[in-house]
Every structure is written in structure tokens, then in C-alpha cells.
Symmetry: C2
Subunit: 354 residues, 2 copies
């Protein structure tokens, strides 16, 4: 359970996933008309709406799941947080190009429908939709006997937001010297749970797992289960405040939602080729849950920062001259690094220093 | 396995599902702003897009799954059809109010990613998206160890289409005397598989199930597995031809996609209160697969017509004077019944005659 293969040993093979995505990319592209503005693999898919008056309306959509964070919810029989996770995850994904949420739909699949459990899940979806000013426009509730274990379910979500073509933020404005700001995560959010569960001894006997979840390990200030179920944060409010500011273009030159792949894979998604991101690791405190996982699993940094958000749930770039305004508008931001020049056409990458 | 409880005995409780939906409806409504044009429970959710020039653009969205038809695909290790099922199901759902598809996103969740299997699934999604002129704009591929059995996966889809407010078809134009037309289904489409699998002996030993699927039962002209995997049809082409016709408003006064709930539950969704649908059962041939299931399961009509489409995948209403044009534009339509008056404010319902 050590080194670069820990997540693979825990059952999740990021490289196999990437290879599969490469294989299907050409097929998927064949469905794109001229209205599709993005390639496969961005945080959200962009679709320019024809007949939208001035041709400026861009719809931005994203699909997500909660991952095996669900297994923690099952063990604790607590179902009111996973809907919050899912909506906020989706909101952040389309926010990363500057879109504001319009509506959300869910897919809830289970073996045999438990109305109370469904109601708790939907309650979380509703709370987060209201919080993000987003309509819960519909969804599918599916009973699939033989596909899900008793008491278990899967939950996926789909969001559609709106942006204006002229104010899309795709990172192309980022320049060397731009500052990198980070916003704290609420915990693991919705990524890395298969590895975390393995390291924390939560994948075996359910009674032992429940006992571990109700205990408070050294270094944590709450029971492990509470820390692990802490909701995925929405970054809509702080980022909207920056994007809507008169100096918005300097305050936010690019955005990255830190999900699966961590800082190492997600920050390059906002960077043009020839630019890198240098993070100063002393600039923010890694929350104790990550140090607990790192220690118990003897996991190297290269893997920790690829599987987990390590305390930063959202990263954005800003012009150096905008730093004071950024801090004033969003006091909780941390200055976590800067954008650096790489040789021309070098693929964007992240360097962790300190 | 007989009478109104057969589907419940097979593990799917439509009433429990409806009760749960009633309980969450109020919560969901609390997320609706004035831009949401529909209530919960229609075929698609309707969202009026602000800032869309003339205010006439309505986005229509739907989420769906494939259901336990997936289990047939697993048994036969054939993964190129379920994506077609899913896209076409979604296309029909938004078509039922007159919307044309813009883009689709998928959620594919599995225990351990098998790239070849994913490629086959995506191949089906791509083929159907191209066929329906719809971009496969994105999706989520999730590895969830411990949630799915080895070799299994779940697949959900999400579609967004566009309509114009002035030409939305919501059934409010339907009048007593309108004719009901039906379009043939390709088989079970994506509904009723839990009951079908139970009746056909496909839920027990996998080897026995595979043997049953490769055999051709009396009355069928192809192996059972092929009949059960026959794709969900898209009705976009025939209905678009009618909706785009100069007489469109007479040719299509209301539409219903026949999915879970069958004719009995889906046709009333397009009918205003005080109107009923009278179907002439002699007007179309119920395909042999349904008769096979009915016979083996000793299932009563009230349940067969609530669980299965019984050979009609899409039903629409038209003015009596438009019948000749409807038949000319879409030669495959069957005239299957008519709209009848009920006492005022009586909830819409279906009567099967003959």
C-alpha cells in the first residue's frame, strides 16, 4: 500500500481510465458539430446555443457521481450529505469556465426502493440546489434488483449552466507571473475514497468499519465518519463575487476544480502549453485527515497529490496586481503559488516546492 | 407470479416508487424559480432560458437509465446496444413536448474499468447520438470498487434539447374526438426487464440463463437474447416530420413516450383532465415476446399494459381531419384509438377495448 501504485492496489486505476478515455475520444468527437466549443476532458462541456438572440449564450454541462464516499454513508446509514456533495461537485465543474448553474437532474439507482432513504438523499440535493440557486429540474429513480446490494444505491448528477461566450474563462489569458490562489476544501470532497477506505481499514467487516468511523483517531477533532462525510464545498459564491467584480478579468484568469487527479492533474487543465504551476507547500495547511491517510498508508507525495485535494478544493489564477482586491473580495483565499514559464509548447505541469 | 403483484414480486414496486415521489415533490418544487415551466413527473423538465433574445428558447432535459436490460447485456457479454437504448430513450422523452436534442452526457459506473467494454458502450452512445443529431458532450466514468459486481456496470444518461415556447406540445390542445396514433416499438425497449427476466428464468444460474438466451422459444423468430436486446427505438425522425409539417398543430396535438407504466400510466400524462384514451386492442399486433411473457407468467392484462409497452413505443394524438396527412407523412403509424370525453375534471385515464 505504498508508492505510486497505492490507488491502483485499492482498485482504482487512473492510467487504465485515461487509456480508455483516449481510445474513445475520437469516437466522441465524431458527434461534435460546430456548436461544441470544447474538446473532451475539460471540467464541463460547452455548447453554443443557436438562436439565442445575439449568439452569445453558451450552455455548460457536466456529469458526476459521488464515488465510494457512498460506502461511508451506507455504513453510517446517513443519507442527507451525499446529495450536497454531488450538486456542489457539479456546480464547481461548470464554474471552472465561468458558468452559473441553471438546473440539475439526478439519477438514483438502487436494488429495492427505500422511500425514507430516497427522501434523505433528495433532501440533500434540494438543499444544495437551493443554496446554489439551481432548479432540481428532474431525475430518474431506478429500481434495479440484482444490480445493487441490499441497502445500497448509486447516485449520479447532471448539471447545466449558462455562460456568455465573451466572458468565458478558459485559462488562455493566464500568463507567467500570474498568482495562484487556493480555496480550502471541506475534506476529501468526493475523491480518493477507495484508497482512503483501504488505508483506514473500512473495506472489510462492516462492524469493525463502523467502530472505526465512530472513533476519533489521533490528530482529528471529530469522529472519523464525520470527517469523511464532510460535504464537498461549492465555490460559487466566492468565485461569483470575483467574476462579477469590475476588475473580474484580472481577478480570475483561469480556474481549476480540484477533483480526481488532485492538484497535479487538474491545475494543468486550466494552463496553456508552455506554462507551469509552482505551488509553495508551506502556503497552506494540509488538513489532518490527509496526514492520517498518508501516515497509515505510507503513501508518497506524488500519489497523495494526485488522488486527494490535500486541502485545496479550487484553484484560480489572477494577475499579480489584482492580489489585494482578490484578498479583499474573498478573505479566505490563500496565495499558494505562481504561474511560471516553461519552454514553448511544453505540456503544462505542476511543481510542488517546499 | 400472477395478477397485479407480479412486477412487485419481481422486485420492482411501482406504487412504492410513486409514494416516494409524492413525498419528495414538495421539496423539489421549492427549488423551482419562475423559469421552470413544468411540474415534476412529465417526460422532460422545461426551463425557459432568460436572455435568449426573444425569450422564446426553452431547454428541455431528461435523465434516464437502462434498467436491468443491462443484466441481459452482461449475460451475453454484448455491450454495444445499451448505449443506443439509453440515448434513444432520452431523445423520446424530450421529443414528447416537441424538443429536438442538442447534447447528451453519460454516467458509466463500474467496479473495475474494462477499457474494451467501455469502448463498446460508448460506441453505442456515439452511434445513437450521431443518428439523432446530438453531441455526446461529456460524461463521467467512475470506478467504484465494492459497489458493483465484477464485470457489471450501471449506465445513466442525461439529455438537453431545445424547443420554442410558442410551439411546445403539452397536450393541452387535445380534444375529445382526436385520433390516437401509435408507432411500433422495437421490443421491450428499456422497461419491464426485472419481470421479464423472472418469468423467462433468467435471474438464477448464469449458465442456464445464457442457454435460455441463445435458444429460440416457440413463437419467436430469433434467439431470445436477440429479441430482449433489440434497441429502444428513437421516434425523432417520424415525429419531426409531422411537427415540421405546415399542418403540424393538427397532426400532433399531444405525445406520450411509452416507458415504465406502459400505455396505462404514460398516455394520461399527455391528456388534460376530463379526457380519456380509448384504445382498440385489435388495431395493432402485440409482438410475440410479450405474449410469451404473458403466457409463462400468467400475467393479467392490467399488469402487462402497465409494465410493458405491448408493441407501441410512442403514441400521439391528432385531429380527425389530419389522419390522411399523418398516414402519408409517416406510413408506419397505426390508428390505435381515440380521445373520449370524461366527466369534467375527472383525471385522465386509459380504457383498453376489444
Amino acid at each position: 500500500m505504498s508508492g505510486a501504485g497505492a490507488y491502483r492496489a485499492a482498485g482504482v486505476d487512473i492510467d487504465a481510465g485515461n487509456e480508455a478515455l483516449r481510445r474513445i475520444r475520437g469516437q466522441v468527437r465524431s458527434t461534435f458539430g460546430p456548436q461544441v466549443l470544447t474538446d473532451v476532458g475539460h471540467f464541463g462541456g460547452l455548447y453554443a446555443l443557436a438562436g439565442s438572440g445575439d449568439g452569445e449564450t453558451v450552455l455548460v454541462a457536466s456529469a458526476d457521481g459521488v464515488g465510494t464516499k457512498l460506502k461511508i454513508a451506507f455504513l453510517l446509514d446517513r443519507h442527507d450529505t451525499v446529495g450536497v456533495d454531488l450538486v456542489n461537485h457539479c456546480v464547481n465543474d461548470i464554474l471552472a469556465c465561468g458558468a452559473r448553474p441553471l438546473f440539475f437532474l439526478d439519477y438514483f439507482a438502487t436494488g429495492a426502493l427505500d422511500p425514507a432513504r430516497l427522501e434523505a438523499v433528495v433532501g440533500g440535493l434540494v438543499a444544495a440546489c437551493r443554496d446554489n440557486g439551481c432548479a432540481l429540474l428532474g431525475g430518474e429513480t431506478a429500481e434495479l434488483p440484482d444490480l445493487y446490494a441490499p441497502g445500497e444505491y448509486d447516485l449520479a448528477g447532471f448539471i447545466v449552466g449558462q455562460a456568455r461566450r465573451a466572458t468565458l474563462v478558459d485559462g488562455s489569458a493566464i500568463r507567467a507571473g500570474d498568482l495562484l490562489f487556493g480555496l480550502p476544501s471541506g475534506g476529501l470532497h468526493t475523491n480518493g475514497y477507495s484508497l482512503a477506505r483501504a488505508v483506514l481499514g473500512l473495506r472489510g467487516d462492516p462492524d469493525a468499519a463502523r467502530a472505526a468511523l465512530t472513533a476519533t483517531p489521533p490528530g482529528l477533532d471529530r469522529p472519523l465518519g464525520e470527517v469523511l462525510l464532510a460535504p464537498h464545498r461549492s465555490y460559487l459564491r466566492p468565485l461569483a463575487a470575483l467574476l462579477d467584480h469590475p476588475d473580474g478579468r484580472d481577478l480570475v484568469t483561469g480556474m481549476a476544480h480540484i477533483t480526481g487527479g488532485g492538484l497535479l492533474d487538474n491545475v494543468p487543465r486550466m494552463l496553456p502549453a508552455g506554462l507551469g504551476a509552482r505551488f509553495d507547500r508551506a502556503a497552506w495547511a494540509v488538513p489532518p485527515i490527509f496526514e492520517l491517510i498518508r501516515g497509515l498508508g505510507d503513501i508518497v507525495d506524488a500519489e497523495m497529490f494526485r488522488v486527494f485535494n490535500m486541502g485545496l478544493g479550487f484553484v484560480f489564477a489572477a494577475r499579480p496586481g489584482a492580489a489585494a482586491t482578490v484578498r479583499e473580495v474573498v478573505p479566505e483565499v490563500r496565495s499558494v503559488g505562481e504561474v511560471v514559464a516553461l519552454p514553448p509548447d511544453t505540456p503544462a505541469r505542476v511543481r510542488l516546492e517546499g
